[in-house]
Amino acid sequence: MTPRTEDELAAIIKGADAPLRIEGGGTRPIGGRAVGARLSTSAMRGIVLYEPGALTLVARAGTPLEEVEAALAQEGQRLAFEPMDHRGLLGTAGTPTIGGVVAANVSGPRRVQAGACRDFLLGVRLVDGAGRIVRNGGRVMKNVTGYDLVRLMAGSYGTLGVLTEVALKVLPAPQAAVTLRLSGLDDAQAVAALARALGSPFEVTGAAHLPGKATLLRIEGFAAAVAYRAERLATLLAPFGAVTIEDDPATVAATWRDIRDVAAFHGRVGDIWRLSVRPTDAPGIMAGLSGVEALYDWGGGLVWLLAPEGSAQAIRAGVNARGGHATRLRGAGADAFHPLPAPVAALQAGLRKRFDPRSILNPGLMASM
């Protein structure tokens, strides 16, 4: 089913008597594919409004991400949360949509400085599981009118409603970007170096560690400012070793695209895990695991793991001991999403029951039944 309008979508959902698998471009089957008949948003597409002077873009949910990014690039702007492309990591094909980005709250390395997708989401339109057309938020940056269902929808994987339109705050693209590279650091030293950099006034917009390879930082902005800040940062990090600065735009872009998309794990055999933890806890959690490979982003706060099948228990034990959560993006089993404490799970189930009383939207995702 591929509705062309919000009203068509509402009619489909109202009339549905069996589960629906909600899909944008189908490139992000995080935690496995939901069961049910395919319901695609791909025909509800197009940029509805773009005001560069107000840093605002409104697009229908099925709009291809690249169409949004191209429109922004023409005006020297971008999605600052740097949504990753899951295709290489998950082995999917298709066209990522802006609605899919929002539904999975997809962000990239810049999340550590600029914020996540949910931080840039200004408004949503959706059809919930009862077929209700609901609007929340708007297209302005400051809006506290009523409850914030905008953030509730971001990252809810289509289990509360099908997005039809999203409004996003966009930001100017910088004039220049450089990568600072350190090498020879173990995980704990690397995370300490990244923490030092992120705690500086030099506005680091990327902070990653590829064990055994390199520890990387990114600075972006006006050319003169970037050069100045890179030099100051290199001095600050001198205790951690020699810093090389790379400023070729294509190389810098490629380096951070690879980190964003976890290129090092593409085509590799094993389960893929994504951990969100307190950055300085990350090396300790990794030290307690065997047979895994790790990549650190967000200064250590985001850990990508390539792990053997059946690692869920060990990974979650390590995370639970320190705080945070772990999601399996690729691999078999019913335990992809991190279990929630009982009272929080009860609230989540309560919301799901209200927004999708018949449990027909993406059943099985987000530990929903």
Partner: protein, 482 residues
């Protein structure tokens, strides 16, 4: 302002309630004497007052949990209160409610500079959060103008903003986690020291829910290293349109100032008479502030100056020193005080798309003549958050009502042009009855569904946010359930 009639059955059990609360809270933490509960009869929206049945001042999450469990069991409404600085009546009691004040919960629980967060109790003031980390060069970014007094718990309830949102976002963008007590006393943790949480974004849902979903007792907040420096430029124009176009051009040019403040002629005049900041005599004035090293600031201000020159400013004054910066900010920071000198005023808080600025200011000017009340406009221009100040005389019969009607028309205009009723002050009781102008019945129903899930008895912060007609059936259902 219509409020639900107090429930006589609850009022008749006051003695029992107070005794039970005294059993779980320190003796001086339960206030039941009408002479003392008067202190809690209003917040900063002083036009509306109603003393609560009792007030409690717990000092720990456990005490909050114990007290809420008792109120829940007895069916007593609870109104959470931070520092009582709400401009929308967010902490206005009902006569049959208990005020739960977090003023005694001010401790810093943890600071972690490597992971860049601070964990505090909810009663700690906004400014003293920064105070706890500034020696190490850090700060907490959201800066509502009441930051000296307002509590973090209140900031979370209202998703407070401030002047620097364009760059740093509002509370929800700087909040990493909370400890929260549900109405039945259940304690939950949402988020924490890591950057995102599993499951639905309940943290984002709670932030800005005006104390209606739970009582936040502790918060984990993102802290940032201070920039090396900051300096403003002041630019005067002979029309609002040109000033608005200049704002748009600055943003389009790729500069992201930390603040772009806009003042119109009535506001400039009033502040000039009051603060003598040396502002030019013009129609519209912008204060644009940028951050970074000295060289970065120079480069950004030069770029902004180049853009502004193309719009023929009547005055352009770049700050070269801390002293000059203070002088430029002096008038803006005195704006509200200056208005208070002239008259009583009502401060509105709508947000509009920046492109609608000239139209909205022109319409406000016309309405000002229709209603016979003066308006001065102060405006966070970068993010479209307007603060029209309507001047009235509280001692003149009918003036407050005219002022409220005028204010409602301005907010409706904000919605009409694609904006919203409130950018940072919250709905409270003040804008409750205007919600139908922004949202349709299904939109409101979806929000009230959330309330049903978190607080099925509708006991937390009653009669706020949703029009009473819209919530009547749900509130009645709670009576049947109980």
């Amino acid at each position: 302002m219509q409020m639900p009639a107090p429930n006589p059955a609850i009022l008749s059990r006051k003695a029992e309630l107070v005794a039970r609360l005294r059993a779980v809270l320190p003796a001086d933490a339960v206030i039941a004497d009408p002479a003392e509960t008067r202190a809690y009869e209003c917040d900063a929206l002083t036009a509306y007052r109603c003393p609560p049945m009792a007030a409690i001042l717990p000092s720990s999450t456990q005490q909050v949990s114990d007290a809420l469990a008792i109120c829940h069991e007895m069916g007593v409404p609870v109104v959470p209160r931070g520092s009582g600085t709400s401009l929308s009546g967010g902490a206005l009691p009902t006569a049959d409610s208990v005020i739960l004040g977090v003023a005694r919960m001010t401790a810093v629980l943890e600071t972690d500079f490597d992971n860049r967060f601070i964990r505090v109790q909810a009663g700690r003031t906004n400014l003293s959060v920064t105070g706890a980390v500034e020696a190490q060069g850090f700060f907490y970014a959201p800066d509502p103008s009441s930051q000296l007094a307002c509590a973090i718990g209140g900031n979370i309830a209202m998703n407070s903003g401030g002047a620097h949102c364009l760059r740093y976002g509002v509370t929800t963008n700087n909040l990493m986690g909370v400890t929260m007590v549900l109405m039945d006393g259940t304690v939950i943790e949402l988020g924490g020291a890591h950057l995102d949480a599993p499951g639905y974004d309940l943290l984002g849902l709670v932030c800005g829910s005006e104390g209606q979903l739970g009582v936040v007792t502790e918060a984990t907040l993102r802290i940032l290293h201070k920039p090396e420096g900051a300096r403003p430029v002041l630019i005067g124009f002979d029309s609002n349109e040109v000033a608005g176009a200049c704002v748009s051009d600055i943003i389009k040019a790729g500069v992201l100032p930390v603040a772009i403040e806009f003042m119109d002629r009535p506001c400039i005049r009033a502040t000039e008479d009051f603060a003598h900041a040396g502002y030019p005599d013009c129609e519209a004035l912008l204060i644009v502030e940028v951050e970074g090293s000295e060289a970065e600031i120079d480069a950004q201000l030069a770029l902004i100056e180049g853009i502004a020159r193309r719009h023929d400013p009547v005055e352009l004054r770049q700050s070269r020193s801390a002293e000059e910066s203070a002088k430029i900010w002096l008038g803006r920071k005195s704006a509200f005080g200056a208005m208070g000198q002239i008259n009583d005023y009502m401060c509105l808080d709508g947000t509009i798309p920046v492109s609608a600025l000239p139209l909205v200011l022109r319409r406000i000017g016309e309405m000002s003549k229709e209603f016979g009340l003066d308006v001065a406009n102060v405006f966070h221009a970068g993010d479209g958050n307007m603060h029209p100040l309507i001047l009235f005389d509280a001692n003149r019969p009918g003036d407050l009502e005219t002022c409220e009607a005028f204010g409602a028309e301005i907010l409706k205009l904000c919605v009409e042009v694609g904006g919203c009723l409130t950018g940072e002050h919250g709905v409270g009781i003040e804008k409750r009855d205007l919600m139908g102008h922004q949202y349709g019945s299904e939109d409101l129903a979806a929000q009230m569904d959330v309330k049903d899930v978190f607080d099925p008895g509708w006991l937390l912060n009653p009669a706020k946010v949703f029009p009473l007609d819209a919530s009547r059936a749900r509130r009645a259902a709670r009576g049947r359930a109980a």
